[in-house]
Amino acid sequence: MKNLITTPNLPDHDGFYAELLAKHKDLSEAQSHALNAQLVLILANHIGDRAALSEALELAAKDQR
């Protein structure tokens, strides 16, 4: 991974994790998927680094099937 940070980088990750779950609370499965999809798109735009995004996709897809 040349462009993607895979070592600890986010302060208060426990807090973020809790906030993420809180936003999904009481959502149907379809609504949860929609929320996640929008989040991916928003974060991709924010990151703005095409190579890092390809590496993130690689990492996420690894061992999924």
Partner: protein, 515 residues
């Protein structure tokens, strides 16, 4: 007023009564691409025979959006001004989700170009203008109702069997150019594979005539409220003709959908009234396919016979005209003994590249418009939802990325500090030159454009206009001088900040594929 389809004259060809000498070029198909091909070759002094099984221009609007590059090419063929004058000029596209506008684009935000970003003009007008010009040319032998039924080739020539109302005859040419469209009979006769992707979706296209005061814009709707389908497109054309494309779904029956009693109520919903007449209707599916190679020795494929794309990017007709632009000067040079057939191989490489770019873009747009169930649908819907609340997502809404000329991957001298727009492989950007235009001055010959310096070389005419602000922006950037070698198809072949005549001579040799 609906278009008046006048048949072109048929004359019994000479070959029926006596054998004809070998022609330099036989062009099969007198659609926009075949006719443009003949005119382009004539511009380079090459004679051709054009064969077409029909004797009228295309029925229905079909290809309607002609890009700036196409208009520049048509201008060189003598019909650019006519096309702009008759056509509806537009540059703004608006995309709606349900009733709300989510995205708009301006395709030509800068001025200083002779030609507009796009002109909407029914294919039959483009064919008519090209056919009229071809009929005027001494170098073009246009034969209607001449249908090719067989093809063969040797190392030196290609032969076709031609059927006419008065019988059949044989015709040979040093080259045969297949401009016979998406269903290319020549491709079929040669047994060539035409691989790619078929999208399981059906679209209804209709031309309607109505009096309306619509702006000259492209309008596209995702999930329109007026049509129970996924998308709709509206384009204004000349003569109060409007073009409407409606996505129907894969389960629909094309024969049923084409019936006026089914079509008319749909269109009433789009335009909000019934005060219109139906001019033409067709149903089609999206496909992206291409031949593995466009050059098969003495038979060359140009336009839809070589590649087809789905339509919402105006990359079919415009891509075909770029093929014409690319092959014309090369084939002329080979036929006139100024270059070896190796030059034709660069047509294959460059236009396969251009075609892949068109296929990539139109396949992506198609996927966005017709997502399959599951993740494709999820992300498509969420891009649309996000577009309403975040500006970045508006540009992600893909209703077709409109045709721009391919930038060919040339291995050529370049200078990193010169502007990106005029890099080697790109079409030279136009600019005003006094009372004329740069592209008009370039014409169809090799040119050295020398800015802020003087140079003389053999093998190319030198153009050294005064450096205007626009020329500076498009060709110099922050540098004081630059030398550009520009090919006969107005593509930048090489460029330097400073250089020696020898380097230019070498680049000219490379342009002609001469060792």
């Amino acid at each position: 007023m609906p278009y008046d389809y006048k048949p072109f004259p048929y004359h019994p060809p000479r070959g029926l009564t006596e054998p004809e000498a070998t022609h330099p070029v036989i062009i099969v198909g007198a659609g926009p691409i075949g006719l443009a091909m003949a005119l382009e070759l004539a511009n380079h002094g090459v004679r051709s025979v054009v064969l077409d099984d029909n004797n009228v221009v295309s029925v229905g609007s079909r290809a309607i959006c002609w890009s700036k590059r196409s208009l520049e090419i048509l201008d060189r063929l003598g019909v650019g001004d006519k096309a702009v004058e008759k056509g509806v000029t537009w540059k703004v596209g608006r995309t709606f989700h349900r009733d709300k506008e989510v995205f708009n684009f301006d395709l030509l935000p800068e001025d200083g170009h002779k030609m507009p970003a796009f002109v909407n003009l029914q294919q039959y007008y483009v064919e008519q203008f090209l056919a009229e010009a071809a009929l005027q040319s001494d170098l073009i032998d246009l034969r209607f109702k001449n249908k090719v039924t067989a093809i063969s080739q040797t190392d030196e020539m290609a032969s076709v069997r031609v059927e006419t109302p008065d019988g059949s005859y044989d015709l040979t040419g040093q080259y045969v150019i297949a401009c016979d469209g998406a269903k290319s009979p020549i491709r079929g006769m040669m047994g060539l594979d035409f691989d790619g992707e078929l999208f399981e979706e059906r679209f209804l296209i209709a031309d309607i005539e109505m009096q309306a005061d619509m702006p000259s814009e492209r309008r596209f709707w995702f999930e329109p409220t007026f049509h129970n389908g996924q998308s709709a497109l509206l384009h204004k054309q000349p003569d109060n003709i409007y073009r409407i494309d409606l996505q129907l779904g894969w389960d629909s029956d094309p024969e049923v959908e084409k019936q006026p009693k089914v079509v008319i109520p749909r269109i009433e919903k789009v335009v909000g009234h019934s005060d219109f007449t139906l001019d033409w209707v067709s149903v089609y599916t999206f496909q992206c396919r291409r031949l593995d190679r466009f050059v098969h020795d003495r038979v060359i494929f140009v336009g839809d016979s070589a590649h087809v794309v789905s339509p919402f990017g105006a990359r079919g007709g415009n891509g075909g005209l770029q093929d014409v632009d690319n092959i014309g000067w090369k084939l002329a040079a080979v036929l006139q003994g100024r270059a070896s057939p190796a030059l034709l191989e660069t047509y294959n490489a460059e236009r396969v590249h251009g075609s892949d770019e068109n296929i990539l873009n139109s396949a992506r747009a198609t996927k966005f418009m017709t997502p399959s169930d599951g993740a494709e649908r999820l992300f498509r819907d969420q891009v649309l939802a996000l577009a309403a609340k975040a500006p970045f997502a508006r540009a992600w809404v893909n209703s077709g990325r409109l045709s721009v000329p391919a930038v060919y991957p040339l291995d050529a001298p370049d200078h990193h500090a010169l502007p990106k727009a005029s890099r080697p492989g790109a079409v030279a950007p136009d600019a005003r030159l006094g009372n004329d235009w740069l592209l008009h001055q370039l014409g169809g010959r090799p040119v050295i454009l020398a800015l802020g310096c003087d140079i003389a070389v053999d093998g190319a005419d030198v153009l050294s206009p005064p450096v205007s602000e626009i020329l500076k922006q498009r060709y110099l950037g922050l540098l004081e001088s630059a030398i550009y070698l520009i090919r006969p198809d107005q593509v930048i072949a090489a460029r330097w900040n400073h250089t020696e005549p020898e380097a230019i001579s070498n680049a000219i040799k490379a342009m002609w594929c001469a060792a």
